[in-house]
């Protein structure tokens, strides 16, 4: 479903991704771990279509479509969802109005009829329950005054509403206490299915106790340097990244 091939990307003059290749099949959950500054969040941003980055080489295909040709909106319409590491506060826009606009904007671009008010509210109710999101938070301005945990739950709530084919979770565990982590993981797990893939970007192994991945990759120096099964996460937790990163051939000048 997603194929990233030899991706090079930079921001300004700084090259961040240096030949990243990765393949995700439908229904698979892949975790990406790696030291700070290795390019994890850059990968998430590029997948979602943030235009601060310049892709200088390589390709990304999603369901056979050249993803790099699509803008952020079109990627969402194609079924990509990014759960932000730092969800944005938007004063004056209620969570509900925001989601209705987003959902119907996607449906319109897919040439589907807008959701009826009744169906929409039923869906809101079901999805909010999934992440135990308080009714008050649904009516408040998007993320405004939300705690860190509430913001992340709100991201998963939006994901449940938009039902993406590929969900990219960018350090969704950061800033979560153990209860919030469990709630968020439960939301994600209940959305797992044959047609939906997840790319879970995380710094710590603990999230992967709750969202058990099919594959774990180590991203270092802008490339995937090691891949393995779920047990790799435990090994990384124990040994750190150095044993993998140091084993890499040094770059030619």
């Amino acid at each position: 479903m997603l194929k990233i091939d030899n991706l090079h990307a930079r921001i300004g003059d700084t090259e961040i991704l240096k030949g990243l290749s990765l393949e995700l099949g439908a229904g698979e959950v892949h975790a990406i771990m790696g030291p700070n500054g290795s390019g994890k969040s850059t990968l998430a941003s590029i997948l979602a279509g943030r235009d601060d980055y310049e892709v200088t080489e390589g390709s990304i295909t999603f369901d056979g479509v050249d993803l790099l040709e699509l803008d952020a909106t079109e990627r969402a319409v194609a079924g990509i969802f990014l759960a932000f590491q730092y969800p944005v506060e938007i004063p004056g826009v209620s969570n509900i109005n925001f989601l209705r606009t987003a959902l119907n904007s996607i449906r319109e671009q897919r040439e589907e009829a807008p959701l009826s008010g009744k169906d929409f509210l039923a869906k809101v109710k079901a999805c909010a329950q999934l992440v135990e999101l308080d009714g008050k938070l649904r009516d408040r301005s998007v993320n405004e005054g939300f705690s860190g945990g509430e913001k992340k739950r709100n991201e998963v709530f939006q994901m449940a509403m938009l039902e993406p084919k590929l969900a990219v979770l960018d350090e969704t565990d950061s800033g979560l206490d153990i209860d919030a982590l469990r709630i968020v993981a439960h939301g994600v797990n209940s959305m797992r299915g044959a047609d939906r893939s997840f790319l879970v970007i995380t710094h710590y192994q603990r999230l992967l106790d709750h969202i058990v991945p099919d594959f774990v990759h180590v991203l270092a120096g802008g490339r995937i340097v090691h891949s393995g099964g779920k047990e790799l996460a435990l090994e990384l937790e124990e040994k750190g990244y150095d044993w993998i990163v140091d084993a890499q051939p040094t770059e030619q000048a």
């Binding site: 943030r50 004056g92 904007s105 996607i106």
Partner: protein, 425 residues
Amino acid sequence: MSEVATPTQHAALAARVSDACRSAGMVGAPYPGAVAALDTLGYPTTRQERWRYTRVTRLLDVSPTAAAPHTAPPAVVSGLDALRFTFVAGQFVGGDTLDEGANGCFVGPVSVALARYPERLEAWSHSDFATKEWFAALQAAAPQDGVCILVPAGHKLERPVLAHHHMPAGVHVAQPRHLIHIGDNASAEAVLWSDTTAQSEGMMNAAITAAIGDGAHLSLEVVQDEPGTVHHMGHHHFTQGSNSKLTVRTATACAHWLRNDLHILQDGTHADSTFHGCYLPNGQQFVDHHTRIDHAHPDGQSDELYKGLAADKSTAVFNGKIMVHKDAQRIEAYQRNSNLLLGEQAAMYAKPELEIYADDVRCSHGCTTGQFDKEALFYLRSRGMTETAANNLLVQAFLAEVLDGFRPEIRDYVHSVYARRLGWS
């Protein structure tokens, strides 16, 4: 850079405008103080602080053609149940006057009120503006028709009033005069709507003068929706008695070149004033809101909020003065002005002015000018919104604080004008 008009130039403008208004039809006599002031007051220049960003030399070229045809324009916010009055270029063209007699409510054209109840209009119906500001003096020297709302003490006007002033196509001048008098413990709601066609040119020099008695309430919504190239000068003057409550909301939906001067005088204790406004110039448009509140007595409150966006090469000006007089102890005055710049060549001049001569007061003001939050825009787009939908939502959110105070019909209308003008709908 300052520009100064020669005395002959602005005297000629005054003569042209007065002649045009006289031949189209005036209401009442020229205000003597105003006629004198036209001679003694100089024409405003950008050397004066109050006119620093407002170039009025361009108005010197306004040269009205023959009187406008008096065809009634299409109704605005037709879903709103109201006592409706329509004016075209300073002339009354339609509406059913409400006249409950000498001791009752009157709502109708100023021309009719002057004929029937001249004594009810005397003492309060000219503001300071008429002798202190050149354009206000010009208006008062040749006043034309507008709506007159007279609510005697203890009465409540049950239906809102909607006065619609229209500038037809062509080069015209209009100097409508709207008069509102709310007696002690009386109340009323009104909408003053001005619009133009896309082919309208010239000048609209309009005055609103309102006196609000002790314990009285007035809620006023001012909508300015003027495509075309009319120059609009607004002189909005309110005097409040003790324990009175005034709400003025001004939405500049569209304006080629517009200056509003709003002045509220709290002339009694425990008065409460709310004045909010929004504006969104684009292209090369110019919108200037000058406001002033005088807290002249103790224990008053005021809440001022103006928000706007300036796009493309447009210019927006906000100047908000809070004057707290020596005896006005224990007043609370809040002012906030927020602006967004949507274009690299857009300009925003914002100036809060506080003059406080009492020692036991609570005053606060905040003024911000910034740009669209790119991160928010990306967030919305990553959720599937088109750039248009995302922009629209962000503008709606920014202006909601102001627009949500209007009636829903007006709020939705103004938002739709903004969305259309920015090419977002």
